[in-house]
Symmetry: C2
Subunit: 386 residues, 2 copies
């Protein structure tokens, strides 16, 4: 396998309710930003991560649509989907294409246009990430599924509402420093606890929002990156990917995200590094409980200790294991197909020292964890300064 | 890049209106058949090609669903989509993963469950392969788009209704010899011309049907295949993939499928062979005009000469360039996400000498062409006896 580097990253200036832009506009804006950042004059191929453009906008075949509207018709292009892990999988797919030696300069992006439908329709669309016959048909929605994870975590480990709320408080504080964040507003634990209940114990401020947005990265062989890139190349040192039962109810322990644990294990093994070598993390905080379960599955804290670690500030920007310095899905927004891609954008900026006010000093190596459904799929990337 | 071989293939016993089986049942049946054929005891990963399970069945996240229901939870799995080229792209994606050296034994399958919705809903779902804003919104459907290609071909080259009809007659004759074909019935040119008009000049017997079905292949490194496979390994010698404008109206010549021409050029270059080295072809005959345009874009006949070549029997099973010996999409059926995968199943069976009554004698090398939309994407594979 060839070593692979990231040489360009881009996203929309700000994520949110982008009513003035269509699905294609949003993607092309992010892709052009990445191409500009990389300084390349062509692409050899493209991957587009998108969860459900069919239901959200009545448009499939994004491979053709997006390469065409990007002015790159004729290049090979592929859409990949794994619910909310679609963006991370676009990056993995591009990594494999470059690593294989088949093609050299590949764009991997993610996009979702979610606000052109009603809230009920969006809930239906998102619900297609669950098992339609055994979860969706019986009325389970994602707030409901994650609420069940939260209840189990509270019952088993004594996790409190305040611990959950602190995840949101931390990520909003981080998002204040990120110009692209949908919600740049500080919140308090009390505000989270007073906010409307969505699915007990999750209040609305425990939930990531509905968002329009896109993000893109450009990959090429590391050798080529060292020659052509004007910026610090970032190497993709580890790639891990795994699945789990699509149904939450079929897992032996609903609080344990086995797909994330397996993907992390594979990525660490490939990179030849351990947790102590990682300077910061971007993880999938679609709900506050998700961030807690993820940092346990990644092995950053012991099982059941994630709430306490969060309350103590260990995962804050200034803590010893900074998690979601970008603001995470909670503050930055969660256009489901784009989330995994923007994690790589954020970490690349951090490793290049371009993260402005939220820069983590001396960041040399970072990990991104992106997942689909209630943990039915997960992809982990480890990036390092090349 | 490592050389890659096909060591197992499978599909449902017969395609059609499979009302007794759900989306997952159909895929798992085909995947298990491929695993059984390969004789492997595990998979290292999986790709699922599917166009629009979200709209057809309210289910996304097939990566998790299908690996789970196949009894393979925890393996990396990815769904890929490029409209009706989704199945072919699943094979390309699996090829890249094995060629890269990242993982060894990968299943690539395609599936579509199309008959659980009304005809109107199916037409809408299929229409999402076109440009929603500039084609779909104005009422263009796929029969309409291909009818425009046909009218242009007739006007420019003198192609006749009879020439179009002969494609359907030939493919139904071939399908008579294929136990899995949805329509195992001989038809005549007169029957095609007398059948109900869908979009002038395309009659209903010029159109491929709505179908439920799945197909799967298993890939591994060629070196490994020679050690573990009890059957003749089939090498993937060439892989080509390209896109074109998603809108038919934006192409300089609506009768010319540039994405197919580019994908074929790349595949021939990679395989180091030319058209005279290919013993048979499976191509994307979603409408009779599609097969004519494709064999021109592949360079099998001169521009404008495809109708004449078909009338002369050159593309018949007994002709000098056998095309769609399986019965093609027309007779075998067209579950859109599965079509590209079953082309590889058919050609593997032919190259192994397992094609029964429709066996092409001494078949050593074969080409599959699969496309999305009105030609907005295309993927070409060249297979050969290893």
């Amino acid at each position: 396998m060839r070593d692979v580097a990231i040489i360009g990253v881009g996203a929309n200036p700000r994520w949110g309710e982008l009513w003035g832009q269509s699905l294609r506009d949003i993607f092309v804006e992010a892709a052009l930003a990445a191409i500009d950042d990389a300084g390349v004059d062509h692409l050899d191929g493209m991957y587009v991560g998108c969860m459900s453009s069919g239901i959200f906008t009545g448009q499939e075949h994004l491979a053709s649509l997006m390469s065409d509207y990007l002015g790159q018709k004729h290049i090979p292009a592929t859409r990949v989907e794994s619910a909310c892990a679609s963006g991370g999988l676009a990056v993995k797919s591009a990594f494999l294409e470059v690593a294989s030696g088949y093609r050299d300069i590949i764009l991997a992006g993610g996009v979702e246009k979610m606000t052109d439908v009603s809230g009920g329709e969006a809930t239906f669309a998102l619900g297609t990430a669950a098992d339609g016959e055994y979860e969706g048909y019986h009325g389970a929605t994602f707030p409901g599924l994650y609420a069940m994870i939260a209840k189990a975590h509270m019952a088993r480990y004594g996790t409190t509402h305040e611990m959950l709320a602190q995840v949101a408080v931390k990520n909003h504080a981080n998002g204040m420093l990120n110009p692209m964040a949908q919600y740049r507003s500080e919140i308090t634990v009390q505000q989270v606890l007073n906010s409307v209940m969505i699915a007990e114990p999750l209040h609305i401020l425990d939930c990531s929002p509905i968002t329009d947005g896109a993000a893109a990265v450009i990959l090429c062989p590391l050798d080529m990156a060292k020659k052509i890139s004007k910026k610090q190349p970032v190497k993709i040192a580890g790639v891990g990917h795994a699945t789990d039962t699509i149904q939450l109810a079929q897992r032996p322990d609903p609080t344990w995200l086995e797909s994330t644990a397996l993907a992390a294990e594979a990525a660490f093994k490939m990179a030849g590094v351990s947790r102590k070598d990682i300077d910061l993390y971007e993880v999938h905080d679609c709900f506050t409980i998700a961030e807690l379960a993820v940092i346990e599955a990644l092995g950053l804290v012991d099982k059941g200790k994630s709430g306490e670690a969060t309350l103590k500030g260990r995962t804050a920007r200034t803590g010893d294991i900074p998690v979601n310095v970008s603001g995470g899905l909670k503050s930055k927004g969660h256009p489901v197909g784009a989330t995994g891609a923007v994690q790589i954008v954020e970490l690349t900026r951090q490793l290049r020292g371009e993260a402005g006010e939220r820069q983590i000093a001396k960041a040399r190596r970072a990990l991104a964890q992106n997942m689909g459904g209630s943990g039915g799929s997960a992809v982990v990337h480890i990036l390092e300064v090349a």
